[in-house]
Symmetry: D3
Subunit: 274 residues, 6 copies
Amino acid sequence: MPPSSLAEIIAEMEAQYDPAWAEPWDAVGLVCGDPALPVRKVLFAVDPVAVVVDEALEWGADLVVTHHPLYLRGTTTVAASTFKGRVIHRLIRNDVALYTAHTNADVASPGVSDALARAVGLSPDLRPLQPSADDPRRGLGRIGTLPSPMALREFAARAASGLPPTSLKVAGDPERTVETVAVSGGAGDSLLGAARAAGVDVFLTADLRHHPASEFMEAGGGPALVDASHWATEWPWLAEAAERLTSAMAAKGITVEARISDVVTDVWTTTDLD
Amino acid sequence: MPPSSLAEIIAEMEAQYDPAWAEPWDAVGLVCGDPALPVRKVLFAVDPVAVVVDEALEWGADLVVTHHPLYLRGTTTVAASTFKGRVIHRLIRNDVALYTAHTNADVASPGVSDALARAVGLSPDLRPLQPSADDPRRGLGRIGTLPSPMALREFAARAASGLPPTSLKVAGDPERTVETVAVSGGAGDSLLGAARAAGVDVFLTADLRHHPASEFMEAGGGPALVDASHWATEWPWLAEAAERLTSAMAAKGITVEARISDVVTDVWTTTDLD
Amino acid sequence: MPPSSLAEIIAEMEAQYDPAWAEPWDAVGLVCGDPALPVRKVLFAVDPVAVVVDEALEWGADLVVTHHPLYLRGTTTVAASTFKGRVIHRLIRNDVALYTAHTNADVASPGVSDALARAVGLSPDLRPLQPSADDPRRGLGRIGTLPSPMALREFAARAASGLPPTSLKVAGDPERTVETVAVSGGAGDSLLGAARAAGVDVFLTADLRHHPASEFMEAGGGPALVDASHWATEWPWLAEAAERLTSAMAAKGITVEARISDVVTDVWTTTDLD
Amino acid sequence: MPPSSLAEIIAEMEAQYDPAWAEPWDAVGLVCGDPALPVRKVLFAVDPVAVVVDEALEWGADLVVTHHPLYLRGTTTVAASTFKGRVIHRLIRNDVALYTAHTNADVASPGVSDALARAVGLSPDLRPLQPSADDPRRGLGRIGTLPSPMALREFAARAASGLPPTSLKVAGDPERTVETVAVSGGAGDSLLGAARAAGVDVFLTADLRHHPASEFMEAGGGPALVDASHWATEWPWLAEAAERLTSAMAAKGITVEARISDVVTDVWTTTDLD
Amino acid sequence: MPPSSLAEIIAEMEAQYDPAWAEPWDAVGLVCGDPALPVRKVLFAVDPVAVVVDEALEWGADLVVTHHPLYLRGTTTVAASTFKGRVIHRLIRNDVALYTAHTNADVASPGVSDALARAVGLSPDLRPLQPSADDPRRGLGRIGTLPSPMALREFAARAASGLPPTSLKVAGDPERTVETVAVSGGAGDSLLGAARAAGVDVFLTADLRHHPASEFMEAGGGPALVDASHWATEWPWLAEAAERLTSAMAAKGITVEARISDVVTDVWTTTDLD
Amino acid sequence: MPPSSLAEIIAEMEAQYDPAWAEPWDAVGLVCGDPALPVRKVLFAVDPVAVVVDEALEWGADLVVTHHPLYLRGTTTVAASTFKGRVIHRLIRNDVALYTAHTNADVASPGVSDALARAVGLSPDLRPLQPSADDPRRGLGRIGTLPSPMALREFAARAASGLPPTSLKVAGDPERTVETVAVSGGAGDSLLGAARAAGVDVFLTADLRHHPASEFMEAGGGPALVDASHWATEWPWLAEAAERLTSAMAAKGITVEARISDVVTDVWTTTDLD
């Protein structure tokens, strides 16, 4: 059985995560690599950073799929005197391609927030927090329910144990009972209004800043907030995306080996302060 | 000795924190209240929120001075059907004024980051991280030195013990030796470039998000990062501002009683997860 | 019978003057006041100015409804050191609410220009001068007919006698016969094109400036112009709005007392020059 | 003595009213005509309208100088199917040039507001209301003093008698005593702030609208307002400009005949309403 | 039989080249002239330049119809001290009107590119290269086929012989076989994408610049390019427009004499360099 | 003698063509490659296109210096599925760097237009056509004189023989005598005004389009125009830049081998039409 070409892998990725679904400001798709080359091994990671390139080269990956774009804003240089250019040079010299599925993976169904919802133990019947205008079955964030009502502090503990290593902050009364939950992988400032409108008990997301969170809580009447690390909320999606790709290729008679990067690329390391 | 009028208090505050120093997008100065009324008791707080109004009314404050504006963007209504309007109604009905010193207090010398620097134990010879164009003795952030070199993890522990209750996250090798330190109260994303250019060993600030922090660390060659809570990094300034006001008024023969709010208005509460 | 709450009054006002009809740049609705408080007495006025507040406090009003917004553009302060802030402080201290119906009252049917049309004696079958895109039965301005053709100078005299005290200026041949009339309360520069397109004989409005009016007349073939004072063209609406509110509340079994402000807030006073 | 060429007339006009002084949005200078043609007769008028062209053709003018531009905004057609194009066609067919001195004449010294100040009887020592940034001896508006203090109503009567036929409206207490006066020919909304800052007793200008005037009076502490017709406040300048041109040309030994248009092009006609 | 008025000619032109079809940035229609005057002789030309005015006056034209606007961007002056103003003065003084049909003639069917397609020998079954959104039967450019396949160099020679005097440049392999052809009169940079999408063998247009053409060819897989002079690609339309106008007027019983300007207004003259 | 590193070459290039001189919209400097690698052979070319990469790989170049940027506008992908990405992949895989000196080389002294001036035989005392604001000795374009006056047609022939293969178009009377000459390599539309102001007899540049050139000639009183191919006007600079680089490196004791690309990357090929 011949190996798959990069072009075939891309076709399958785009069948699942249509680039047309990405936000207008986003930059998804193939970043470097030659669609005609064969692809046997695919590494899935959140961030296109140096330690992920190390892992790809050590393992012998032909393709790295990341959630975050290397160049979200356009560049006029990939010189190796820049850290992003070094990523490009190392990948091209070793015939490793880089492919990004970002906001198109966020809004896909299933997508990034479905995996997050499962990781924190929500029931499987999920619906979008902010449905896409063109297809309300897709969208940003997901809303689901816990198996039974619990205190906010219990939910936070449950989230911490279901996610990879993460910081975790809570806003709201720790003893408040929560049952309906909204989750959204990555920075969630812009979804605070949707979370209030949805009438959920708690909203789990990342990168919330003081002012929007403080004004949200002062306004009152809305859900509690749980803020985890950006990386930890998006990592659960990798395994799902890898499984979907390898299964789909296998159904076409093509074997692709996938690996989930286990390098924590959360910028924040934990220190033993206490 | 007659009490001070609000007008006199404002004149003294503006002598120390000139409104002309505020950023063009900022909204500083008197938010509500009548300059002709007497002021005997002044409450200093970070955020103009409901619990701070509770404290002001209980204590019998005539004036609340906050760091954060109530209306950073303009409003066309102060109706009591909004949470900000409720703040306005409660204050006006009880003849309590509200006054804000925000980015003009950030860049003053001494200002918000001087107090933060002292709180985490930097030596007293501080200089601005990003000097103001019109007067380089003022500016955003401060640069100082620790009494002796120490591991990054030790500095983080020192910061945690010097600040009021706060979350604390670290990026960089915990064993890295640090001695020169940049600090900036409040959200610090926009000062990452200045911190790198300053050649310091570590930059302590708040509200750093994944993408700017991750790209900053990947670029390499710069300082380690310590991210504390927004509220905790600004709170140390309150005592200093109160002291400067009461001393200056006393020098004019006027007694003003000041109080530092001890209500934690950090939106994030700590939960016992472990 | 219990008094009405402010919330109930607002609900009725919005049933008649839907805030969604207001222009995007406008600022309508509740400006200050608490929706939970009772409302027994409502004062209707064109402008939210100091003499109107005087009248409201003397009469014991619980609510002032004005046509013009206090803050058309957003403010970051309601300090009593500003004249608008003094309005806010006096109203809040006396538990008087302020509510605005502006461009939503202009386009309502019946609305501001219906009352103006009646005041100058047009027949009751009126149609909008510039119909709203979403519902052509509403819109800016009204077109109607006089009971019989008359000279332009006669129409001007008729308008002067039907309106409260006003300056009045006329452009066009005073002997021209007019029968179809367009009217629009408030500043009418932007409706000159609609008035020409409507084929009417005369257009009565306010605040017309030299250049648009001069170019309009030079272009020829259009209606004559009558320019009255801004205040005088909007005042007739107050009685109608008051009547509609009290009747609707009475139908619900609630008594609300209404009063039409008789303070002339036209900025222009007449002097005896001759 | 040979007649002057249009080019020579323009050179003299531009020596007195430098086009570089005009606002960036303005359109001054030669509108139509051939600089090589002789000019014996020059008609001065406020507006480039049909009745002024009638007068120019009847009198045999070679040049019409107006204060207002024919095309303030650019046009892509001068077809005779437009009223402005008809002006162009009639002028070109009869070899009559059209020249505009607008905001460059406003800020010149002496300029439009000097003539207005004299017309209402101010003392000759005038200074700009809003000095030009590049030369504070020039600028918009003029400030002067009355020969003796008088009631506002007396000043208004004095203004009415010193100006050509005009409407006249007053804001402020008619019995208020006024002595220092600011005047500005044409629409004066944008100079209200300067008039307040100047600390004058009364500001005479034109085309003031309800909202800016009402907010100005509500703010309190500023001058009274007198609003005359746009045309009437600019007409006094014509005689002065004509005199300056003919004198300057005579000094070069060239005879130019000037005429001040006596057609009232104020769009507003007076009707006998009483 | 009475002569036609300019108004009747314009009505017929607009029936064929509806001004509503013009691009929003364009300026089409009557530039000068009086619609009431009679029109017996009409000169058609590409550019409204001095030599075309010479020809119009010598021949005694009543109307000049050009493809290019005299004032594409608005002007505030038509003074004879400018070269465009001299065109206006000469035309108005001699009662000659000027009328423009530009992008409305480009997208008409038949329009400018139909005539170009015929001039270079394409078969008569043409379709738009970039169909108009509101009516796909109209649009910019035309696509057609050659009677038989030929080398690119042969097609270029054919184009050179079918057009009036023109420079001609070719990009692509001269021996490449071409059969399907896109043509667009005037500057064609903005249609390169449409030409590639259409899958034609060659695209003939004008005013192509180095960078867009170079990137187009480097991208590969698209048509060859032929760049002729702007004037030469639009000139063929003149005869067709003249024939359509005179026929349509004749059908109404009105005789109009038309003439195609034979002055080459291509700015580029050929020199004998070899 | 050790080879030079890319970093040293870049330092020398930037000493001669300071990146700070580039236009704000430009993208100059290192596009790909590793500054730490050695550089022995440098290929100079106008365009970073496939045939230039072919030449670089065949010759064994370590660095390609081009005048035109590969990515003038930013890109978010260098995938080999794009023609620009293929350039990047081929260069990086073969350890060939790409460096651009564009508008910084245009305004340098000597720069691109100096070489062009020499190629067409102007005397060596040249001055900028549009001097740079910060240093008037640099700037866009050059002005010089011919050894003796000649007919425009003779100058055009001289230019054709001095340049590499090029199309050549002339606007103006071929027999006009010319002596002072302005030249500017690359697209010259934006310098037409400067060329008129300079009072030269002829302006040689590239990529002039019909409308600006036609309006320029109609305005009259300015220079004749000669339009050559974009590529041909910039190619002469390559030899000079190569010579300056190798000399400067030799002076430091470092041998660098330079080669001028002899591939014509003008998009326009000549066909034998006659």
